[in-house]
């Protein structure tokens, strides 16, 4: 076990996976000498050479498209998109190419590849650097969408993503990159893609969240449980596509109440799918409406107001109170 930040865990996992499998190669903007703008690939080019850790020109469609080509020819590319807000440039290669090549080829060609991208707010970035666009890929069959909320999860999920035989969008909450250090086993372990993690059991209410908002939710819940004697279950989805229906449903069947928290804008976001799913399969267990505490339905705003725009303790608390008022 070693104490690692999330970014260290990511860097460590990339190193381990590249050692394990010659076919794993990394490509992206500024990932070589610079080690990535967040240092996720720090030191890797020195270790593995310029052929395995490749700086690319500024062309996201080409980064993902080339990765598709490589992956279908036996490599396991790990592409970095510098910030998730730039994925729009690569949308066809993500949603129409990587996601569909298995389908298009009648199952004869696969694209085992990972697209890594930092995402989420609270870090005072310039425009389009903090957007949470994971919902677009939940609506793109063929792509898996995974996001860790801790250093431990980052390691187990990233290793799984790299070894997965389907394309995986691996989203890294940038505000958590260095937010904490945790004990992480150096040994190989995998966390199942498509499996949610019940962070904490509870009886009165289920909070469903993932990625950047997980530590926040944990704090809010700890505070509320202490002061109000409630028992709240927290589910960290870890994967939003495919969704872990079973875990979500059995929790809500138990508690009868759900609050969903994410930074993505509300309309058409992941929370909508989760809510609809619960409605479809556990409606009669619900004792209160499902409340979504999310980014507002505006573009991600300027840094000076982002803290109030993002789901914060006040708004999550309000959501909990509202659900409990029924």
């Amino acid at each position: 076990m070693t104490a690692m930040t999330m970014i260290e865990a990511i860097n460590f996992t990339l190193k381990k996976e590249m050692e394990r499998d010659q076919n794993v190669i990394c490509l992206g903007e500024d990932i070589g000498k610079n080690g990535g703008v967040f240092r996720a690939t720090d030191g890797l080019q020195e270790l593995f050479g310029e052929n395995r850790v490749v700086d690319t020109p500024i062309a996201e469609s080409a980064i993902v498209g080339a990765a598709v080509g490589m992956a279908t020819r036996g490599l396991r590319p790990v592409a970095e998109i510098q910030f998730l807000g730039f994925i729009y440039e690569a949308m066809d290669q993500m949603a129409a190419q990587a996601s569909r090549i298995r389908f298009r080829s009648g199952g004869t060609i696969t694209a085992p590849m990972v697209v890594r991208a930092p995402f989420g707010g609270g870090v005072r970035t310039p425009e389009l650097h903090s957007d949470s666009l994971e919902g677009l890929f939940l609506h793109s069959p063929g792509m898996k969408v995974v996001m860790p909320s801790s250093a431990y999860d980052a390691k187990g999920l990233l290793a799984s993503a790299i070894r997965d035989n389907d394309p995986v969008l691996f989203l890294e909450p940038m505000k958590l990159y260095r937010a904490f250090k945790e004990e992480v086993p150096e040994e190989d372990y995998l966390l199942g893609i498509g499996k949610a993690n019940i962070l904490k059991e509870g009886e009165d209410l289920t909070i469903i969240t993932y990625g950047p908002t997980v530590p926040l939710v944990k704090n809010v819940v700890a505070e509320i449980e202490k002061t109000q004697g409630l028992s709240i279950e927290i589910i960290d989805l870890r994967t939003i596509s495919p969704l872990d229906e079973e875990t979500i449903l059995s929790s809500v069947q138990k508690t009868g109440r759900a609050v969903i928290v994410h930074e993505a804008v509300k309309a058409g976001g992941p929370g909508a799918e989760i809510s609809a799913l619960i409605n479809e399969k556990a409606l009669f267990h619900l004792t209160a409406p499902i409340i979504r505490v999310t980014g507002f339905d505006t573009p991600y705003p300027v840094p000076s107001v982002e803290d109030d725009w993002l789901p914060n303790a006040t708004r999550i608390g309000q959501g909990i109170r509202e659900v409990l008022s029924h």
């Binding site: 190669i25 052929n51 490749v54 690319t56 020109p57 062309a59 469609s61 080409a62 993902v64 498209g65 080339a66 990765a67 598709v68 080509g69 490589m70 992956a71 279908t72 020819r73 036996g74 490599l75 590319p77 066809d92 290669q93 129409a96 190419q97 090549i101 298995r102 389908f103 298009r104 080829s105 009648g106 199952g107 004869t108 060609i109 696969t110 069959p141 063929g142 898996k144 997965d164 035989n165 389907d166 498509g194 495919p242 969704l243 229906e245 079973e246």
Partner: protein, 355 residues
């Protein structure tokens, strides 16, 4: 100081003139190869014409004919080695057949069969790409894999004149140049992108000169002259194999409609087609072969019949292939079916019973 528009001059490679007379130097091609080139063109045209007919009869779906482009497609693919890869668009039947794809496969594709996308089983031909330009990036990634694995394999992206306007085309050529990848970008400039003429697609005088933007090699060739295409492509592949990517512009003409859903009389001027029919790639090569004494009308007739029979057999196989079932589509989304998909798949089966 000022690099004026279209200052960079490109000259078209030609070997045969329109009547089939040798005007360039004779490429290094023996008689067997000459005959094979012609026979492939016959096969491609025969397939194409049958496909058109079958579409009109409602037996296959939308089809994009390649008539007029046989020399460009056959000449280029004939130069490939077995280990080379093709990344085709929707109009590459000729090239794909030469590189080993079966005609059944194409028929299944046009019939909207799930198996229509399985060309890469047994041949180095990627499934048909519908999104203009996307295949260029896949070719780049594939070439990158070849280089990484130290395999002597070139990846060839086929694209049209219209496709050169896409951002993906640019990004692909730029990557190929930067990483010195074994790629050939084979542009069939067939003068039209559906209804938009080449002149409105880009202000550059040639497509070949676009290579200048990427520090790679460019060349323009008479795309209706199968010998010119073949020899040019051979040299392009040789360079690419050494890590020097090449942009080839084959100047040709789409004699037919864009697809069976298109009506070119809406936008094409009278007389244009006729001018290009005079430059037909088969006609020209046939004249050359006859002049050379290795072809005649009798052989010609036999060849068309043989080609026709092959098409018939292929269509019969395709037509008798059990049609795809909706339940199957759930099997090709992920390696392992998530529970939601399994549930959806099951709902179909139940329905099948109910109906």
């Amino acid at each position: 100081m000022w690099l004026e528009p279209n200052e960079t001059i490109v000259n078209k490679v030609q070997v045969l003139d329109e009547t089939g007379k040798l005007i360039g130097s004779h490429p290094d091609v023996n008689d067997d190869e000459l005959l094979a080139l012609y026979k492939w063109m016959v096969q491609a045209r025969t397939f194409d014409q049958r496909a058109l007919k079958l579409q009109r009869q409602g037996r296959i779906g939308t089809y994009a004919p390649m008539i007029g482009q046989e020399a460009a497609q056959v000449g280029s693919a004939f130069a490939l080695k077995k280990q080379d890869w093709i990344y085709p668009s929707y109009r590459e039947v000729g090239a794909c057949l030469v590189h080993g794809v079966s005609m059944e496969n194409f028929f299944l594709y046009t019939m909207g069969h799930i198996k229509g996308g399985t060309s890469a089983q047994g041949t180095n031909v990627f499934p048909v790409q519908i999104i203009i330009g996307a295949q260029c990036l896949h070719a780049v990634g594939s070439a990158w894999a070849s280089k990484y694995k130290d395999e002597s394999s070139v990846s060839v992206a086929y694209i049209g004149d219209g496709g050169t306007s896409q951002g993906d085309f640019h990004e692909a050529l730029n990557f190929a140049g930067v990483y010195k990848l074994p790629t050939v970008f084979f542009v069939q400039n067939n003068q039209w992108a559906i209804s938009v003429p080449r002149s409105k697609q880009t202000a550059s005088a040639t497509i070949a000169q676009k290579a200048a933007a990427y520090g790679i090699t460019g060349i323009q060739v008479d795309g209706n002259d199968v010998l010119a295409v073949y020899s040019t492509m051979k040299e392009a592949l040789r360079r690419a194999r050494e890590g020097k990517p090449v942009l080839v512009e084959a100047v040709t003409y789409r004699q037919g409609p864009h697809t069976t859903a298109d009506d070119p009389t809406k936008y094409r001027q009278n007389g244009e087609l006729e001018q290009w029919l005079a430059k037909d790639p088969l006609k020209r090569m046939k004249a050359f072969l006859i002049e050379r004494g290795i072809w005649n009308e009798e052989l010609e007739q036999v060849e068309f019949e043989t080609a026709n029979d092959k098409v018939t057999k292929a269509f019969e196989i395709a037509a008798s292939t059990p049609s795809s079932k909706t339940v199957e589509v759930f099997d090709f989304v992920y390696e392992q079916k998530p529970s939601q998909l399994a549930e959806q798949q099951n709902s179909i089966q139940v329905e099948g019973v109910v109906k």
